[in-house]
């Protein structure tokens, strides 16, 4: 029993270690105290900010934009990915375009989207959706294309029509890969949203919070906002993992 119980606490070692090092750095003033506040000050700022403070509001704004972006991206990219993946020849014909824009830093698209949609939320959300959609599209298409041949043949030999093979087999076969795309997509969308909040005329959001705290030299607030952003990214990833385990119970088996 003992080793198993201890194993549960293994992930905590890194966390405790980081905090200890942080404390020592503050204690011995390795870094200028103005630049590195103590963990206690930082977590107090995080707690106060999240519990009814400004930070909680910004957290929700960023979450809202990211979720909206990923929903739009999924709604466009999943059906499109299935359609493209169902025929390898069709996918090959657009593969270069998809790969090219997938490799283009989405932040390079900000000026274009600013011209199209102005400085409001639409721009932030649509750039994030654009980046995430390409990641999802690519994964869904590959998931469909890499459906096990035997499984497709099995359905065919039992008399399934092409449409039934698509809905009963290809779609489900592509689900594990689709979730890989969704998880990567949501991480990317968060990155883009936070960057957009920093630089594109924002009045709220975690990006704006980090940026503003830095400008005002409110270091505990800045670190608190960074941790909040980290927590948001980690939480979203975890959420998608849990949903995936629920819906794609056969993944990896």
């Amino acid at each position: 029993m003992k080793p198993i119980r201890f194993d549960l606490f293994l992930p905590m070692i890194g966390v405790v270690g980081l905090i200890v090092i942080w404390y020592l750095a503050v204690w011995y003033q390795v870094v200028d105290p103005v630049l590195l506040p103590s963990p206690v000050d930082t977590f107090r700022a995080l707690w106060n900010g999240m519990a009814g403070g400004r930070l909680g509001f910004d957290f929700m704004r960023t979450l809202e934009r990211t979720i909206l972006a990923i929903l739009i991206a999924a709604a466009i990219a999943i059906p499109l990915g299935i359609a493209l993946g169902a025929s390898e020849r069709v996918y090959r014909s657009v593969e270069f375009v998809v790969d090219f824009f997938r490799s283009t830093p989405a932040s390079a698209m900000f000026p274009l989207f600013l011209v199209l949609f102005g400085v409001g939320d639409t721009t932030k959300i649509s750039v994030a959706a654009f980046g995430a959609a390409l990641v999802i599209l690519f994964n869904v298409a590959y998931g469909v294309m890499n459906a096990r041949k035997t499984r497709l043949l099995a359905a065919k030999v039992m008399g399934a029509s092409r449409l039934r093979v698509l809905t009963d087999v290809m779609l489900l076969e592509s689900l594990p890969q689709t979730f890989v795309g969704l998880r990567n997509g949501v991480s990317l969308a968060l990155v883009i949203v936070v960057v957009a909040e920093m630089f594109i005329g924002s009045t709220d959001g975690l990006g704006q919070r980090v940026f503003e705290a830095q400008q005002l030299f409110a270091m505990p607030d800045m670190y608190a906002a960074i941790f909040a952003a980290g927590g948001l990214g980690y939480g979203l990833n975890l959420l998608f993992l849990l949903v995936e385990r629920q819906f794609v119970h056969w993944s990896g088996k």
Binding site: T150, R151, L153, A154, K156, V157, V248, W250, K253
Partner: protein, 271 residues
């Protein structure tokens, strides 16, 4: 070398007193792969209510043969008829070698088995009735509420055999169904298949790469030559069923197996 009494080389029709009618007639079957001629005007009759094992050198086209008969691979020329009818008019079952990839992991075992009935658009009650009837007749003791990946390898293959049988097929095709199983499970599954065959009397075509298995289960052994595949020999084996471990050491079995091996090695050497 004395041969089994009914041994014959005539592909079309069996002739003789113990004649069985042809269930599937294959005429002029021709298939080219980019690099080779696999079949060139191949004729063969699959006898009704018999279990035919297909055996031959590696890559001679054993699996290709049943894949063409079942429409998984298009043919270049020739004709394959089931009681004079085309493939789309008949019900058949097909069991893949790779059960892990042939079953649907997102469906429970029972739903995997019922899937072909769903494709036939049978009402739910009818689907359940048919499945229960088949499970009862096979005497299967597997928890079918489980997902395929929760079952042992043999159980998974048994589920895919049940999925093939649930439509009450006129013909059952099996492509090296036991070659991915360990030896213990293979022995068990051979007897399960024999039991299915004795119970249902369904015309069965078994592609095998294991000569012992091919003879043990068969009424007829179709020995193929190297490419382009032709009939090297067509051997009868009429030992009574159910056959058991004791069968494996009986004179008749040993003789038929030795004969098949001889033909096989002659064909291998030709290449």
């Amino acid at each position: 070398m004395s041969l089994p009494a009914h041994q014959g080389r005539v592909p079309a029709g069996e002739g003789g007193a113990a004649a069985t009618s042809a269930h599937v007639t294959i005429r002029g079957l021709t298939k080219h792969f980019p690099d080779a001629v696999v079949y060139d005007r191949f004729d063969f009759d699959i006898p009704r209510g018999k279990l035919v094992s297909v055996f031959g050198p590696n890559g001679c086209g054993k699996s290709t043969l049943i894949n063409m008969i079942t429409g998984l691979i298009p043919i270049d020329a020739g004709e394959i008829l089931f009681d004079g009818k085309p493939l789309r008019d008949i019900k058949f079952g097909y069991v893949f070698q790779n059960y892990r990839e042939a079953l649907f992991p997102w469906l429970r075992a029972i739903d995997n088995i019922q899937y072909p009935l769903k494709l036939m658009k049978l009402p739910k009650a009818e689907r359940r009735m048919r499945t229960e009837r088949m499970i009862a007749s096979l005497g299967v003791k597997i928890d079918l509420k489980r997902y395929p990946y929760e079952l042992s390898s043999g159980q998974q293959q048994l589920v895919s055999i049940m999925r093939a049988l649930v439509v009450e097929p006129q013909i059952l095709f099996l492509d090296e169904p036991f070659s991915a199983l360990d030896y213990e499970m293979t022995l068990f599954m051979r007897d399960q298949l024999q039991r299915v065959f004795v119970e249902t009397g369904t015309t069965t075509v078994l592609v095998s790469h294991d000569l012992e298995e091919a003879v043990y289960l068969a009424d007829r052994i179709l020995l193929l030559s190297r490419r382009p595949a032709a009939i090297a020999d067509y051997v009868h084996y009429d030992a009574a069923r159910p056959r058991t471990d004791a069968t494996l050491s009986q004179h008749d079995f040993v003789r038929v197996k030795a004969h098949c091996l001889e033909v096989f090695q002659r064909e291998v050497r030709k290449g």
